[in-house]
């Protein structure tokens, strides 16, 4: 396995502002992902963070709203832009460590007022 950290662990933000969430893995990994878990819901993949190229977004998610960076094999950021209360969720990063196993970071609980 690997140690995955995220920060901030939680934040309360005002409508219209943006928040950048950081994800750090303690080893180099090829694949990193960002998920969203809305209240009472399961996890939904936002995008695959590709090192050295633009992220691959899932249907319903766009780069303008959720820009992602992946500057190296251990680090990625997700920005939630122009936030609204509907963006209140837990945001989780994951890393594929070996074969198909994905391990998750501790999550960022975002509340938008």
């Amino acid at each position: 396995s690997a140690v995955i950290s995220q920060k901030p662990s939680r934040d309360i933000c005002q409508r219209g502002t943006s928040l950048t969430i950081q994800c750090q893995v303690d080893s180099q990994v090829t694949m990193m992902f960002w998920y969203r878990q809305q209240p009472g819901q399961s996890l939904t993949l936002i995008a695959t963070a590709n090192q050295g190229s633009e992220a691959t977004y899932e249907s319903g998610f766009v780069i303008d709203k959720f820009p992602i960076s992946r500057p190296n094999l251990t680090f990625s950021t997700l920005t939630v832009s122009n936030m609204s209360p509907e963006d209140s969720s837990i945001y989780l990063c994951s890393a594929q460590i070996n074969s198909d196993t994905q391990y998750f970071g501790p999550g960022t609980r975002l509340t938008v007022l």
């Binding site: 196993t101 998750f104 999550g107």
Partner: protein, 111 residues
């Protein structure tokens, strides 16, 4: 579109009981099925299953996959209050790592 359905959605038991959680799936190009335990925020990896009929075990937890019936179960024996959590089933159906999650089963274990 890949689909994962878990049942029951919630379960309340007493310590010492045995529980069986179910996961059925429809997925294109199945690669593997994963079980996670979620307490608070972060899902914790439990098992990855790729082959039918091979049971994976870890302490009181075990899981098995049936690729013919597109089904997996997670068993927890002699449950403890610390087993209270949401149990998530996810399938990997493509080559690039997208996990499709079920709704989760909320397990509550009373003393």
């Amino acid at each position: 579109e890949d689909k994962v359905v878990q049942s029951p959605l919630s379960l309340v038991v007493h310590e010492g009981d045995t529980v069986t959680l179910n996961c059925s799936y429809e997925v294109t190009n199945f690669r593997s099925l994963l079980w996670y335990k979620q307490e608070k925020k972060a899902p914790t990896f439990l098992f990855m299953l790729t082959s039918s009929g091979i049971e994976k075990k870890s302490g009181r937890l075990s899981s098995i996959l049936d690729k013919k019936e597109l089904f997996s179960i997670l068993n927890i024996t002699a449950t403890q209050t610390g087993d209270s959590a949401v149990y998530l089933c996810a399938v990997l159906g493509t080559s690039y790592g997208k996990l499709t999650f079920g709704q989760g089963t909320i397990l509550t274990v009373h003393p």
